[in-house]
């Protein structure tokens, strides 16, 4: 997957975790938590969904990389670059 495809995967996961949020004007450089209501249970689900879908293990010390869309995509790209896009 390239970076844009990873971004779409993250949007799909966010949509699943927070089905009522409007994600169309998400600012990729700002923390998710400032733009939508995500508690720690929801946050764990982002990590768990990635594990379920792509078998990527994200250690707890790396969670700070998942604060914004930009940082998440940057962090995941090396891990997912050889994975085929679902789309």
């Amino acid at each position: 997957m390239n970076e844009e495809q990873i971004r779409l995967v993250i949007l799909d996961i966010l949509d699943k975790i927070a089905p009522d949020e409007d994600l169309s004007d998400l600012d990729d450089s700002q923390p998710f938590r400032d733009q939508m209501e995500l508690d720690s249970m929801d946050f764990l689900d982002i990590v768990m969904e990635l594990r379920k879908r792509y078998r990527v293990q994200i250690p707890e010390e790396d969670y700070p990389n998942l604060v914004t869309m930009d940082s998440t995509v940057t962090y995941l790209h090396p891990l997912l670059k050889d994975v085929e896009s679902p789309a």
């Binding site: 927070a18 089905p19 508690d39 764990l44 768990m48 707890e60």
Partner: protein, 459 residues
């Protein structure tokens, strides 16, 4: 057979935990001793009528889309939609004490104005109490027990109002007599007074059916008639269970909803003192089927909490049933589009578990059930219209019934007075969920299963 997680008890907490784990591809086995699921909140059919046990009302009502509310968080975690539970809000409930009645609906402002009308001198204190509750984070507090009574007395000076607020909160949640931990008080204040009551048209069956379908759909395995004889452990680490049948199941970890003392007995260990940690609060409930709706008799209340004396006592009573107080609940009195097929009124009263569990003569037990049923109904019809001429069938449950179907020692509905909020035990890989972890009620139980699965089984 090697499982990732073995869950003991297919009640609401075990089912919710099971869904989380199965969704994330764990190999999960959910074990239930009885022939059906539900635990404390179950159902049965008797003489061609459907009965619910446990469910008076689902607390924590929230409208669809109100994301911050516990109900909606729970649905998201279980990947269910709001419509799955088909919750329908209550009509109106009340707290009835001598010379004073407080009405409440799912609009908290009604209760606020009721307090201002009946207790004008307390109105300001009540508003400050509510503010303190709004600002309190019960999940961030890590200290020990704090008395809720002491907290409330910082704001309210009228013991009648204090007791009228504690009455529904204690009745619907407390494993401890007359007072409870402040964290739990805050959670229950929000869930029943601020958020309010609802019920699916089909009662608890609807919720259980949705949960078990989801669990199986995600690949979870449910074994009914599979009681656990013992939890197997070696060198301080749990690794499996032995069933009553002698079959051995192995698992990476065990999540037990059996209760704290009940679980330690399964391990043949002493984590806590049995006497101190076994609950004392139990109930007798009569369920009457009527030949007309409660509304036809002029009764529109969803849940009526009452006390015949200003000094409300919530404790193990000195008599088989406590005739000083009770709960009157009608499953018909919700805002359903169509009336329910059956008409029912439930009367619940505190009971002395010692009396009920020591009746070994079956005839004496039956006679005691009948007499208590008569007495608690006679007590209740001082508060609500007399429905006794309309009773067409009746069933009664007692602490003995609760013990038989839930395994809770003493028939203690709300379990142990000491809760294990972290869900850990002295054994590695053995965790608790459900009543004795500390979140109560139908929504609380599911949240307990979810949070313990998240904390101990998914990382």
């Amino acid at each position: 057979m090697q499982y990732d997680t073995i869950i003991i008890g297919a009640g609401l907490s075990g089912l919710a935990a099971g869904i989380r784990l199965a969704y994330y591809d764990q190999k999960v086995c959910l074990l239930e001793r009885h022939t059906t699921i539900g635990g404390l909140n179950s159902f049965y059919r008797l003489r061609h009528r459907d009965y619910d046990v446990g469910l008076h009302a689902v607390t924590n009502y929230a409208e669809k889309g109100d994301r911050s509310k516990p109900l909606n968080k729970l649905l998201r975690q279980l990947r269910l939609s709001w419509d799955d539970f088909a919750l329908c809000p209550q009509i109106e409930s009340s707290v009835v004490f001598p010379d004073c009645t407080l009405r409440m609906t799912n609009d908290f402002e009604l209760l606020r104005s009721q307090v201002a009308d009946h207790f004008p001198a307390q109105a300001d204190g009540f508003n400050r109490l509510v503010q303190s509750i709004d600002e309190f984070d019960p999940f961030a507090e890590t200290g020990g027990y704090q008395s809720a009574r002491e907290h409330v007395r910082k704001y309210l000076s009228d013991p009648l109002l204090e007791n009228m607020l504690f009455c529904p909160i204690l009745f619907y949640s407390s494993a401890t007599p007359n007072d409870l931990d402040l964290r739990q008080f805050v959670i229950i204040f929000r869930s029943i007074l601020q958020e309010g009551f609802s019920r699916p048209y089909e009662g608890i069956r609807r919720i259980l059916r949705v949960l078990v379908k989801k669990f199986r759909g995600e690949g979870g395995e449910l074994k009914l008639r599979s009681g656990v004889k013992q939890i197997l452990h070696k060198n301080g680490t749990a690794y499996g269970v032995e069933l009553d049948s002698g079959e051995i199941l192995e698992g990476q970890r065990i999540l037990s909803s059996a209760g704290l003392v009940e679980t330690q007995r399964l391990c043949d260990q002493t984590f806590v003192d049995e006497t101190e940690s076994t609950g004392d609060i139990s109930f007798v409930e009569s369920i009457s089927s009527l030949d007309c709706s409660p509304a036809d008799l002029g009764h529109h209340g969803t849940v009526v909490f009452f006390s015949n004396q200003t000094d409300f006592r919530y404790e193990r009573p000195p008599t088989p049933v406590d005739l000083r107080s009770g709960i009157i609940c009608s499953p018909n009195n919700y805002q359903f589009d169509e009336p329910l097929a059956e008409n029912k009124i439930n009367i619940t009263a505190l009971a002395d578990h010692g009396y009920w569990l020591n009746l070994d003569d079956e005839d004496a037990y039956r006679a005691a059930k009948q007499e208590s049923c008569r007495a608690i109904i006679e007590n209740a019809v001082k508060i609500v219209p007399d429905f006794r001429d309309h009773i067409v069938d009746q069933d009664v449950f007692t602490p003995r019934t609760i013990k038989k179907f839930t395994g809770h020692l003493n028939g203690a509905v709300y379990g142990s007075p000491t809760k294990q909020l972290a869900g850990t035990t002295p054994l590695d890989q053995l965790y608790l969920c459900g009543t004795d972890q500390g979140f109560l009620g139908i929504i609380g139980a599911m949240l307990s299963g979810i949070s313990m699965a998240n904390a101990h089984c998914l990382s």
